[in-house]
Amino acid sequence: MWKNVYEWLDERLGLNDLYKNLLDRPEPKGNWWNTLGSAALFLFILQGVTGIFLTVYYTPSPDHAYDSINYIMNGVAFGWLIRGIHHWGATLMVVVVFIHMLRVFVTASFKYPRELTWLIGIGLFLVTLGMGFTGYLLPWNQQSYWATTVGTQIAGSVPFIGDFILKVLRGGSDLSALTLQRFFSAHIWMLPAALAGLIGVHLYLIIKHGESNFPSKED
């Protein structure tokens, strides 16, 4: 019975081909450091899932953001757990992505033929930091407000176009409802979309070239 179902599905979906091409691939001898990329991927998915749950109650307006977070922490069943995972997940993701980058650097896995994988990776690193920066403002508390004030000021110190950047980030010359709205939009739509797209290319390149072997004296 199951065999029939599987065969029916395989005929239309090509499950066997998928299995052969994606899963049943040869790899060089594995190493625990090579699990960090997939750990980053796992964290990205986890952040996505917990983040989606958070948007059920979170309201991105200066009047309600703080109280909605408060409600998530105290009023919603397991809200504290979801927010806790999202909060610590963000921290851990930055750490994991950074160490992943270090391991790629140390094993020189960015060299031929994986140069593009590395370039995309730099993009991923920057966007991950961007996620942290935009997410930090959303609780709209003292800490986030002032950190963002200073953070956007730093971005505004670029010569010539600094003023323009500052206004684009803040949606005006000061932090306001517009800033919150903008950071929210960036945090839940623009940056995750960029991240997902870049991760797609990153993974494609990894499957295409295979995981690099750990360098030995021969390399």
């Binding site: 691939r25 594995g30 930091l129 690099s212 021969e218």
Partner: protein, 475 residues
């Protein structure tokens, strides 16, 4: 890279694949274990550490020290150190844009800068050493982030040491490594590794020194009320300290008494529906922040020169609503002090301090009209005041006891005049509370709960008391 090298690399990779493993299940298995471990770690962090509650936004509070997400702290420290450099330190964008931008650019272009096809560590000493130095530096800058660059008495020493640890040593080491590779050429791998190691050790050691010699200033972390109950009690405490003076502990006052300059002024009772129904939360908050300067109510909001933050004012409004507004149903609140058992002696810490805070502190703090009688600490209550001492252990006629029982103290020089009015001047406390004061004074005014427990008489034998002389031994 020529085709020959490429082919060599591909051949070599082919060989590795042949003696390698399968992606499924070998690699995936390891990935799943690590991801599962991370998941468990996250649940533990969320459960046992959680997320700190932070105060509400207050754009007027410019004294707030901004603190970015921890993984940006090293950049903050870098900027602070850079800002001390004479002349160059004034050109902000060099540190905020040029240096980080350059680092990212070099990192991104790594595959095109490091063109030598070797991947073995021994053949890549320069890039790995430089990266190691930078990573150690980033970690150390993060650790030092909270140490200020200038001490309280203006000494620049911490800043200079931080600059040496976080900037000079790494920079010198990196320059040396480059010189060894490209100018001296013949330097051995060992020397380069030692250079990197020594610079890392110096950076770490100096950071340890900075932390040991210049302690991080303690930040006044005030607990943030997040639940309704906490908000109401926080609001009540703030109300007690700031408003009781004029509006009374229950908001009932319609004629101000005992306040310099406002003696006898008629005001609306702020616990009345008149006030509570006509003013919405935002207006109430605005009244508290801005005050009613023309009528004599001083501004309380930080934006107008007062002491209270937006969160504080919000809490006061919540307290007013849930205590006086009959449209709101108050949740169960903690009692002001734990009820006394028969024979139990109250202590300052547990009983008197919260009562004083609610009923007296608003007037009896520095800078108010109160005959110099301060009630903010145990010692002040015992020792200060024009009539000091106002309380004497075991004395039923202590001034404090008399005035709270509602007996004004007449002026000894002119008995027709009152020297001290009944306290609090704008209403009196319930008999229970007055009784707590009386028990406290008559039993020797213990400060801590332990002292009070020693003085307590336990009517039932064997209930934990360490045998006070007052109890008669049981057969």
């Amino acid at each position: 890279m020529d085709n020959e090298t490429k082919q060599k690399i591909n051949k070599r990779y082919e060989r590795e694949l042949n003696r390698g493993e399968r992606f499924w299940p070998d690699s995936i298995f390891k990935d799943l274990i690590v991801s599962l471990g991370i998941f468990v770690l996250l649940i533990m962090l969320a459960t046992f550490i959680g997320v700190d509650a932070q105060p509400r936004v207050d754009p007027s509070d410019t004294t707030y020290i901004p603190r970015p997400e921890w993984y940006f702290l090293f950049l903050f420290k870098f900027l602070a150190i850079y800002g001390q450099i004479p002349v160059l330190g004034k050109i902000e964008w060099l540190a905020t844009v040029a240096v980080p931008g350059l680092v990212i650019l070099v990192l991104a272009l790594m595959p095109f800068i490091d063109r030598n096809p070797n991947r073995y560590y021994g053949k890549r000493v320069l890039p790995i050493s430089v990266m190691a130095i930078i990573v150690v530096d980033i970690v150390m800058l993060t650790i030092m982030a909270d140490v200020p660059t200038v001490t309280e008495n203006g000494s620049m020493l911490p800043g200079i040491l931080q600059a040496i640890a976080g900037m000079v040593i790494p920079l010198v080491a990196i320059i040396l490594l480059f010189l060894m590779t490209f100018v001296f050429r013949k330097t051995s791998t060992k020397t380069m590794i030692w250079t990197a190691a020594i610079s890392a050790i110096l950076t770490i050691g100096l950071t340890g020194g900075v932390l040991a010699w210049f302690p991080v200033p303690a930040t006044t972390e005030t607990a943030v009320a997040t639940t309704l109950v906490d908000q109401i009690s926080a609001g009540q405490d703030l109300y007690s300290v700031n408003c009781v003076e004029c509006h009374g502990d229950d908001g009932k006052v319609t004629k101000i008494e005992g306040v310099k300059g406002l003696e006898g002024k008629l005001i609306p009772a702020i616990n009345s529906t008149d006030v509570l129904y006509t003013l919405d939360d935002a207006t109430l908050a605005e009244v508290i922040a801005y005050g009613r300067p023309e009528a004599g109510m001083t501004p309380f909001g930080k934006a107008y020169g007062g002491q209270l933050s937006t969160s504080d004012i919000e809490n006061i409004v919540t307290f007013m609503r849930y205590t006086w507004d009959d449209r709101f149903e108050a949740p169960k609140l903690k009692p002001l002090y734990p009820p006394l058992a028969a024979g139990e002696v109250p202590s300052y810490d547990v009983h008197i301090a919260p009562i004083v805070k609610r009923y007296c502190l608003s007037c009896h703090q520095a800078g108010k009209q109160n005959n110099n009688y301060l009630m903010d600490t145990y010692d002040d209550i015992l020792k200060t005041g024009d009539q000091a001492p106002n309380v004497t252990a075991g004395d039923e006629n202590s001034t404090l006891l008399k005035v709270i029982e509602g007996t004004p103290i007449p002026d000894p020089k002119d008995p027709t005049q009152t020297l001290i009015r009944a306290m609090p001047p704008n209403g009196h406390m319930s008999p229970d509370i007055i009784n707590v004061f009386k028990l406290w004074i008559m039993n020797g005014m213990p400060q801590t709960a332990e002292d009070a427990a020693k003085l307590s008489v336990t009517p039932t034998p064997g209930a934990g008391s360490t045998g006070t002389p007052a109890t008669t031994p049981t057969p």
